[in-house]
């Protein structure tokens, strides 16, 4: 039976080792190797080589193909002193990696040579536990979760769609959630608006939602805007900077403001709307797909525009649509998967069917087309409320997200 020392010598005899200086030359070359730190988590957290990816040796075989899928690309491995990385290099050779190199002397000699290191951002023990089911997903991981914690999502409306969307985004650990809603919670909301509750009746929806979100996840900073979106306040509300907008408004004037702003500020909008048993979801991503006005150049006049208040809606429907919106928002924040850009997903709860429509950019679109005719915000409330025959369905009665 070989001793540890003999085993190590045998491994080192089979693999290629480089000094810290030579390693640095390789890393700075035009064709740098993938750099893998195979130490344990606590060692990694105390500092690592810049640009390294952390794959503890115990997970090396199972994770290396995700981290370094190209077996013909050289891989440079390091540990604390160059022993674990020697075994790791041999393992990669067995897995068919053409050139697996071990850093002789490891991180200790690298530091001793005065070469640059960095302290990693890490989640810390409480967050590692809270987000463990995200961390287990290859597309998420610790870097993905840190990205979510850094991301900023603005919700238009804390009503039917905004309720589930905000709760799931909060649970997922989105670091900052802006909520725009002017309304207070009333009894008719509670059949579907699950961010609110019976004991928050009469309370502003922004306060009620904020309390729920903070109770759910203290990592989330809620930025409330207890106001209706208008051409006057929209620039101020967008000013802090948002990565994604989730549009769950209940009226056309707000939706057109959101659209025009998103085109001018280059912010993707996850759009959802509901009526009775049917819902629609899509992503309007400026530059890569159509905008809302490509689809519907102008809003309908108020008398032709039914809102939830008159049409009714199955209480769980916004749960389905708002959850899809949250999913799309997370995909956009993480830059993973295929967002619903250029595709309108229709859900019919009664028939239990999803259908998809193709959406294309309209070259004649008045906002994102070749020669835009709309270059400033339009307040459709006043525009529409003018000399119209039937003011009964006037959307200005409703706050966003009611």
């Amino acid at each position: 039976m070989p001793t540890y020392r003999e085993l190590l010598q045998a491994a080192k005899a089979e693999i290629e080792e480089v000094s810290p200086m030579r390693a640095r030359e390789l890393l700075e070359s035009d064709d740098p190797p993938a750099l893998i730190d195979v130490r344990e988590r606590d060692e990694w957290e105390q500092g690592h080589i810049e640009g390294a990816v952390h794959v503890p040796r115990g997970y090396l075989e199972s994770r290396i193909e995700q981290t370094a899928p190209d077996r013909s690309r050289p891989v440079l491995l390091y540990c604390a002193a160059g022993n674990r990385s020697a075994f790791a290099a041999r393992t990669l050779a067995e897995l068919g990696y053409e050139r697996a190199i071990s850093l002789a002397g490891g991180y200790t000699d690298w530091q001793r040579s005065g070469l640059p290191t960095e302290l990693p951002r890490t989640l810390g023990p409480a967050r590692l536990t809270r987000y463990s089911r995200h961390l287990l997903i290859p597309e998420g991981g610790e870097s993905g979760q840190l990205r979510l914690l850094d991301s900023r999502i603005l919700l238009i409306g804390a009503g039917g769609l905004g309720s589930p969307a905000s709760l799931y985004l909060a649970a997922a650990g989105v670091g900052r959630l802006g909520i725009v809603d002017a309304d207070v919670v009333d009894e008719t909301n509670l059949q579907r608006q699950i961010a609110h509750s019976t004991d928050s009746l009469g309370e502003p929806k922004t306060d009620s939602a904020r309390r729920r979100i903070e109770a759910l996840n203290p990592d989330v900073e809620v930025v409330p805007f207890r106001e209706r979106l208008t051409s006057e306040n929209i620039e101020r509300i967008l000013e802090p900077g948002w990565d994604v907008i989730v549009d769950g408004a209940d009226n056309f004037p707000t939706r057109y403001l959101v659209n025009d702003a998103s085109v001018w500020h280059d912010i993707p909008v996850v759009h959802g709307s509901i009526f009775r048993f049917e819902g629609q979801v899509t992503v309007f991503k400026p530059g890569s797909g159509p905008c809302y006005r490509c689809l519907f150049p102008q809003p309908p006049p108020p008398e032709l525009a039914p809102s939830c208040a008159e049409g009714g809606v199955l209480g769980v429907l916004p749960g389905v649509i708002g959850s899809i919106q949250a999913t799309e928002a997370l995909k956009l924040a993480l830059d993973i998967g295929d967002p619903l850009v250029g595709r309108l997903l229709l859900y019919d709860a009664l028939s239990g069917e999803f259908n998809e429509m193709k959406l294309r950019r309209n070259p004649a679109c008045p906002v994102c087309g070749e020669s835009p005719t709309i270059t400033d915000y339009v307040d459709y409330v006043e525009f529409c409320a003018g000399p119209l025959p039937s003011p009964a369905a006037s959307p200005e009665e409703n706050g966003s997200g009611r």
Partner: protein, 89 residues
């Protein structure tokens, strides 16, 4: 006859029907047939005899605005979907 899917926001104009049949070789003829039978649909679909800017018509999953508009051809077997803007949230 083509099958025309009526969205929930317009069903009060079609006596609650989720789908109706209509005839016509183009979208324009088809819509004319439809509004002939359901006159209150006219204002929801057409504006100055053109497609209203707050509604879309899909023939076989394609937006007719990106094809030939109201002159887009419709087959007997085509499924036509009316899609008005919906604001509820």
């Amino acid at each position: 006859m083509s099958r025309v899917r009526i969205p929930p926001t317009l069903r009060s104009e079609t006596e609650g029907a989720r789908e109706v049949e209509a005839s016509g070789a183009t979208v324009r003829e088809l819509l004319d047939d439809l509004v002939g039978r359901f006159p209150s649909l006219r204002g929801q679909l057409l504006e100055d005899e053109e497609l209203a800017p707050f509604v879309n018509v899909y023939v076989e999953g394609e937006d007719v605005r990106t094809k030939d508009g109201l002159e887009t051809r419709v087959d007997e077997s085509s499924t036509v979907i009316l899609l008005p803007a919906m604001a509820g949230g």
